[in-house]
Symmetry: C2
């Protein structure tokens, strides 16, 4: 089995998440942390911070040395990167990604993958409304969820190693499922929530409205400070599931609207009480 | 002008907010803090905590002694209370409330008020998904907003005193406006957000979904653990404004849905970027 203290680890893309992985690997006493990024400036900053040992602005010289690679790119960049650089990976390497959609990505990558590479698709459920390496240090893994959608061909010892490492990073719950289930659930917990936050800001032009805020509005719209190209990509790539979730939400919204318009206080109280109970039954 | 160190203060209703006022008054070295509540148990608990000096299960013996009274009741209870007990207040007393809607409440109260009482309508923009006196100690005022909708007849020295006290409580921004403007804006920042959170929970029956949460869903739905009767009342009392805000939100949601369905990535990125910029221009 791999050991983080002895293997060479590479990070592809030193943005918010790639940077957060670098810091987490450093905390785990990783033996050697290499990083590829198109920005020499970002690599210099990471070297100065001490969270990587070497930086690369071309992938090949790094990939050929790495036993473990975290691919920290947006979905479309990830597929392009793998198409272009699949022959640069070290034979036997373990790869994992962080893409927020899994069905289409995993299907595309499986068709590209070499037989001697073990790719375990992953999705760390963390992030920040502030993107880029500069904010990576504040991107916490502690207590967060991590979803894996392992392939049948994955080596059990690699899966065990990756799960152990994810726990050492601080994530508290690791869920294994298939890509379709991941995309269905993420469309709800993540994408629908971002759509709602965006719609809430879109329908309010008064930026002084926060003088009237009591915390709810702020909580609901913090994520509206999103990385627009990344989220547009996630929304469209998972559009079938997301559109269904939006319509289900619209149905519930309409139910509440009707109860309010009808001034049906009894039914409204019953419904809100059921909502309260269901939310209480969910983990925070 | 009144002085909190020398006047007698009464709190009507020792729930979450009434309790939070009691603790805040105690921190301000209030001379004498009296409280009326229907629950003798709650009063005993508050006495034990040291945040009130005397508890009353009937209002009259307390009200006749108070120079300053905070009415911490839900809107409908507030109107009933004032109708029943308006002749118990001490002549010259300053009163304020905490009701989350102002138009209908202030109109009703103005018709009940005695000429020798000065009532300044207020709305502290704070709270918690956990209600009741037991949670009052954790209900923070620090950095929160406070809205006042003063009446023309309010005495300037009483308004100045109340604003000074609110600042000493820890609130950072006090906004003065009229009841209609309050209700229009609160329909957006507070009520619409609670409606959205409730709809989001209503359309998801899987309580295990939080294994797939990354923080967004949790942030958007924390307020779904609401006090059902209170919020049903607030929604229905402010239904005209709230229904307009829900419809504006539905319009924006529909715009995003159409962009996703059309896979119009360019327009979606432009729209999300505008959302991001607008949210960034708002205070957190």
């Amino acid at each position: 089995m791999l050991s983080i203290e002895t293997c060479t680890t590479g990070i592809v893309g030193l943005g918010l998440m790639g940077g957060a992985f670098a810091y987490a690997l450093r905390d785990c006493k990783a033996q050697s942390i290499l990083a590829y990024d198109i920005s020499g400036e970002t690599l210099a900053s990471a070297l100065k911070q001490g969270c990587i040992d070497e930086g690369f602005t071309t992938p090949q010289p790094m990939l050929c040395r790495c036993d473990l690679v975290f691919l920290c790119l947006a979905p479309s960049s990830l597929i392009r990167f793998m198409q272009e650089h699949i022959y640069s990976f070290k034979s036997g390497a373990l790869l994992s990604d962080i893409a927020g959609i899994k069905g289409s990505i995993v299907a595309a990558l499986e068709s590209i993958l070499r037989d001697d590479l073990d790719f375990i698709p992953g999705h760390p459920m963390t992030g920040s409304e502030k993107g880029g390496f500069a904010y990576a240090k504040n991107c916490s893994f502690k207590g967060k969820n991590y979803i894996l959608t392992p392939l049948e061909r994955n080596k059990p010892e690699n899966l065990a190693f990756l799960k152990g490492l994810i726990r050492r990073f601080g994530f508290s719950r690791i869920t294994e499922t298939n890509p379709a289930d991941h995309d269905r659930k993420i469309a709800f917990t993540s994408q629908l929530c971002h759509v709602i936050a965006a719609a809430l800001i879109d329908c309010q032009s008064d930026t002084g409205i926060t003088r009237f805020g009591g915390g709810s509005f702020e909580d609901l719209t913090r994520i509206a400070q999103l990385n627009a190209p990344l989220w547009a990509e996630l929304f469209i790539e998972n559009s079938a599931e997301l559109l269904m979730r939006i319509e289900e939400f619209e149905g519930s919204l309409n139910t509440i609207k009707t109860l309010i318009a009808d001034e049906n206080r009894t039914a409204l109280v019953t419904m809100l009480q059921a909502v309260r109970d269901r939310r209480a039954a969910m983990d925070s």
